[in-house]
Amino acid sequence: MFKNCLPLIFLLFFSILCFSQKTKYSSFLISSELKEDANAVVRNSDIEITIEDVDKMIVSKTKIVTVLNKLGNADARISESYDNDTKITNLSAIIYDALGNQIKKYKERDFLDVSAVSGGTLYSDSRVKYINYTPITYPYTLVFKSEYKTSTTGFIPWWFPVNGYYVSVEKSTYTLKNPKGISWRKKETNFTDFNIEKNDSETALKYVLKNQKAYEYENSSVSPRVILPIVKVALNKFYLKGVYGEATNWEEFGKWMHKSLLQGRDVIDEVTKVKVLDLVKDAKNLEEKAKIVYQFMQNKTRYISVQVGIGGWEPIAARQVDKVGYGDCKGLTNYTKALLDIVGITSYYTVVYADEKRNLDKDFSSIQGNHVILNIPNKEKDIWLECTSQTMPFGFLGDFTDDRDVLVVMPQGGVIKRTTTYKDIENFQKTDATVQLKIDGSLTSTLKRVSKGLQYDDKQGFVSLTEEDLIKRYKSNVWSYNNNLDVNSVAIKNDKENVIFTEDLNMSIKNYAAINQGEYLFRVNVFNRVVYVPKRYRTRKLPLKISQGYKDIDDLIIKIPEGYSLSNLPETKELSTKFGAYKITFTKVDETTFKYHKIMVIKEGVYSKEDYKLYRSFRRSVAKYENLRIAIIKK
């Protein structure tokens, strides 16, 4: 009798434990509010960072996520990355079913270990360990634990408790331990509308967010960074892949960057020096000189990215780029800077977030950015150079790095500046065409199209296409709505000097008009049909953002076929809104000719969520007018 007692108690205890484990991961406990619009629910995301020293950090993460459906799998990725100075010290994953029963367990050795070199990079030391879990039922719950040790404290993981759309958060915790009290800074953004508790001391920091509903994605809106909470943290003294650093603001950060990563890497061999000096000897001013140097660099180099260790942050030496003729953004920018030094032009290495328009946080210095460009201070207007492109015009950035806050690294310290902006009407496209309609319903046309600003950017790539591919582009892409379009001849001109792109085409379109018992119907807008209508939202929740403004003017001279007469031309259509304006007018030239004139302007900007409906109705009206057809009648 006694014999059995202990195991029984043990068993009881065990089963209670089991039960509590079970309920912990059961999907039934999630409140219905958190399930709304959610593909996954973060049950508890716990990140704990321990800064043991300036060059010693341990990051320990536990992520418990309940995946409600197939789309939620993206929020339950089981992977951890590492490289030469980051060592994974703990890795495990357990899957529970909806009732909270464990159904699968992965230990570290079950993880696949692969190179994480991305497409554009030749080589880097980044690797990733991951598991491809195949869900067998929904919902299921993932408990993913990982821990890594690194000497690099230049990147302390920031806190993004709400990380994406369609995912709700039951609880998210961020703990930072700094037992040595190494001086640090932090910045909290977008806390107001969120339920966040905070605990703060000299040596520790803790945030907890609870019960956050999922956000739904809406198109044409602001970046989630603008609305969701973020905590940014940085040490004033840090270590980055073999290099120590110290900074409390951008000025100091820039000074450090110059001293530790750039200085002394801008030496160039005598042969190239002589060559470059010879090239610029007749140039009159700074701009001319800089342009010659930029073109020299473009012709000599190409973009190849190799990122190993500090090489991810420090440019390869200018001398090396000179020798091998390639480099990544850092190497090519630094090389261009070195070349400009030779001809006596001061320029600065500049750190930027490329592609998606995003500012470096001007109030919070830390290692930021994902790209490097070059800044040349100039009397009227700074010159900015994109050094990774062999084709970009001098001083043109395009939408890759335009209009954003960047860090200009000067020897005396860093400065935040704003890059060139290309506003609305600067992004200009002018189309002039003559259209001859034929009696059989076909047409022939000669067209000239001139593009500037970001509309130049859209088209400059045409230069690299073969004629065959260019014609294919016109047929399948640019004017895909014109079936049976044939390009008889095309000439394009890329005027890099003035950043103007000109296209001259001679085209014909079969079966353009519909002929019906003496009536001849055709769409007047042959070559610039803009029929985009933004998606309808029953209830729009996020603000509207129009990310690129532009202006189009079209002038078409349309000649009708013989035997038909122009009856009454349509009236002028005009729309004017805060998002832009639209106007089309028709003018009779003679009995067989009329003019079609169109102006369309779209204004970049952020508008309220209420405005979305108005914007949509504006674009709907535009789309309708863009399809306008005219009927002419047989004499």
Binding site: L71, V117, I136, I304, K475, N568
Partner: protein, 666 residues
């Protein structure tokens, strides 16, 4: 006259010899060349591509396969710079012998002020990346590459895996001026040859003698090896091609590599002196048999203990073979989920896959076949090569990477089943498996070809009924039916998406506003998907000079011809035969009458490949339109391309013709 011929011959010889393709002998002419002579659109070209495969022998190591590669690449312009980066993958498993790369050299040649400059790649600029457990990659990029540069690459791969020779690719994505392939195989390895692609291949075969110092044991008890010189012959394959055009990607092509010019050798058997002949898989019959004998294939089919008590009771309710098959098919799908891994062999084994509910293709479908057989059905595996893998050119174990199930009834009908796809139905396979023919393997290891493409058309049927209000607003209903492959694709793409998102997607597609939305049979796989939508649109009627113009099938009108290229070298691959049928009924608004209607049209493609029928007619106060587009073959060969393009262009033109309504005179 004779003299002339000789002279001509000499001349042509001369022009061939004028170029020196020896490594390091890049000429000024090559550096000066501005564009590829036969295709000025080429951004880069191979001036020379050399590959030599031979076998080394040493007493200790035995046979080792050595592949020597030389490439000479011309960069014509900046767009061609991509060709200056090279990746060489080699087999390097965590355990077991690996391939090795040696003698890697890369040199860039530029012409500067009329002089040839050379730049060598330094050793530290070659990166070795461990991709995964089995493969590593050497990565390099040429230094100092300018427009007009010529690049030379040379390396050697030594492999202990002497029984397979990598297929020789004869056509690249850029043109190749000269190809020089040289393969020497000792008589002990007997290979069979195969080729594919639309270009002719000029292959020369010869034999030559070779002497080696052969190591052998007199008998099994001997400890020491004996050596003796023996003479054997080698089979030599030489391919020399001049001016091979680039292979260019096109739309609706399936897998472009199916059309790439390629030469392959497949080991048929080994026969060493004093040893018995070792046969390798030879015919498709052999390959199938071999796969069948493999433990993680054949044995897995024989296991049944793990499921036999779980089979659904509903099996008792029917004697119909296909109904039984459908019940088991459904049972497997509910039990085991696919982990996205392909394979003809099981990954976890059927038992474990069943227990844990996850498996690869073979785990799932071999389990399915086993169960089908268990209940007495005539079920067999069908080996498949997926679309991504392409069509194998010779019988090889590697020719298959997928397996599905086939059930044949006593009356001679059959169905194909793939339980990896939750929404698949009997004989409607997922797209990845729809690649030409599969190989059925029976219990005794015999095999035969089975056509994979379904004879059932992928169906889309739309029925639209609308009326036009006084203010030109079109209101109505659309009922859409998807069946067969269309139903599978619909369920796959949409079943997990929220209704709200589906509504907006459809609103965007047809540019109307939805007032009511219903989808039936989302999970009732035996029935077609039926979607009923109530909509309203302001944009369907055009009013010009008091007349109304309406496209007879409204928003269903095909606006563009998908075939825009003038000509085409490859077949058009639709994946499946398909049929779209649209019927639209428009109620004529009060006070209007028909002025004109588009005329009826019926056109077809040769050989009953496809047909388009279109009819608009007035019935009382309604205009009724029927539009049917049907393709009876999944693949349309290139000889019909221009007919197909013309066919589509007529269709687009026809559908854009308007109904014209005029006001009735009062």
């Amino acid at each position: 006259m004779k003299k002339f011929t000789i002279l001509l011959l000499l001349l042509s010889q001369f022009s061939l010899f004028a170029q020196d393709f020896k490594f390091g002998k890049v000429s000024k002419e090559e550096l000066q060349e501005q564009f590829y002579p036969l295709d000025s659109s080429a951004n880069a070209a191979y001036l020379y591509k050399y590959k030599k495969v031979s076998y080394n022998y040493s007493g200790e190591e035995g046979w080792e396969q050595v592949t020597e590669v030389i490439e000479r690449i011309k960069i014509y312009n900046k767009e061609g710079l991509n060709e200056a980066t090279k990746q060489i993958a080699y087999y390097k498993p965590e355990s077991g012998t690996n391939e090795s790369i040696s003698g890697l050299k890369a040199i860039t040649y530029n012409l500067e002020n009329g002089k040839i400059t050379k730049k060598k790649l330094s050793k530290k600029e070659v990166f070795d990346e461990k991709r995964n457990k089995s493969w590593s990659i050497k990565k390099l990029t040429f230094p100092a590459v300018k427009e007009g540069a010529v690049l030379e690459l040379k390396y050697k791969v030594s492999s202990p895996y002497s029984q397979s020779i990598e297929s020789v690719i004869l056509q690249e994505d850029i043109p190749v001026k000269k190809i020089d392939i040289h393969i020497r195989i000792p008589q002990y390895f007997v290979f069979k040859k195969y080729s594919k692609g639309y270009l002719p291949i000029s292959l020369k075969e010869t034999k030559e003698n070779r002497t080696i110092n052969y190591s052998y044991r007199e008998n099994d008890r001997d400890i020491t090896l004996k050596n003796r010189d023996i003479t054997l012959f080698e089979n030599i394959y030489k391919i020399e091609e001049d001016y091979t055009p680039a292979l260019k990607q096109e739309d609706f092509v399936g897998n472009i590599n199916n059309y790439r010019s390629t030469f392959s050798l497949e080991l048929s058997h080994k026969k060493f002196p004093n040893s018995a002949l070792q046969p390798y898989a030879r015919t498709w019959e052999d390959v199938s048999k071999k796969i069948h004998e493999y433990p993680s294939f054949g044995n897995e089919l024989n296991k049944s203990s793990y499921y036999k008590n779980d089979l659904p009771a509903s099996l008792q309710t029917t004697n119909n073979e296909f109904e039984k098959a459908a019940i088991i098919f459904q049972f497997v799908k509910s039990k085991v989920k696919w982990n996205n891994n392909k394979g003809k062999y099981t990954e976890f084994g059927v038992k474990k896959a069943y227990k844990e509910g996850v498996g690869n293709v073979a785990d799932i479908n071999l389990m399915l076949i086993s169960m089908l057989r268990f209940v007495g059905l005539n079920a067999n595996p069908v080996l498949v090569s997926t679309r991504a893998k392409g069509v194998p050119i010779y019988p090889t174990l590697e020719g298959f990477n997928y397996v599905i199930a086939m059930v044949e009834s006593t009356s001679g009908n059959y169905v194909l089943l793939d339980a990896t796809e939750v929404y698949s139905t009997p004989s409607i396979l997922p797209v990845r498996a729809l690649n030409w023919n599969g190989r059925k393997v029976t219990k005794d290891g015999n095999s035969s070809w089975v056509k994979l493409t379904s004879s059932k058309h992928a169906l889309e049927e739309n029925m639209v009924m609308v009326k036009i209000s006084d203010d030109m607003i079109v209101e109505g209903l659309i009922r859409t039916k998807y069946n067969n492959l269309n139903a599978l694709n619909y369920r796959n793409n949409n079943n997990h998406v929220t209704e709200e998102n589906l509504i907006t997607k459809l609103e965007e597609k047809y540019k109307f506003e939805i007032e009511d939305y219903k989808v039936a049979n989302k999970k009732i796989l035996g029935k077609p998907i039926v979607r009923s939508v109530k909509f309203i649109s302001e944009d369907l009627i055009e009013e010009i000079n008091g007349k109304l113009y309406i496209e007879p099938i409204l928003f269903l009108t095909a606006k563009t011809n998908p075939f825009k290229l003038k000509e085409r070298k490859f077949p058009v691959d639709f994946t499946t035969p398909w049929k779209d049928r649209n019927t639209v009924s428009i109620q004529i608004p009060e006070g209007y009458k028909v002025e004109s209607l588009p005329e009826t049209l019926a056109i077809g493609l040769p050989g009953d490949l496809g047909v388009f029928k279109y009819q608009v007619k007035q019935v009382g106060n309604k205009i009724k339109t029927i539009s049917v587009l049907q393709f009876n073959q999944a693949i349309i060969s290139p000889e019909y391309y221009s007919a197909l393009k013309g066919f589509y262009s007529e269709l687009v033109k026809k559908q854009s013709e308007k109904i014209v309504l005029v006001k009735e005179k009062i």
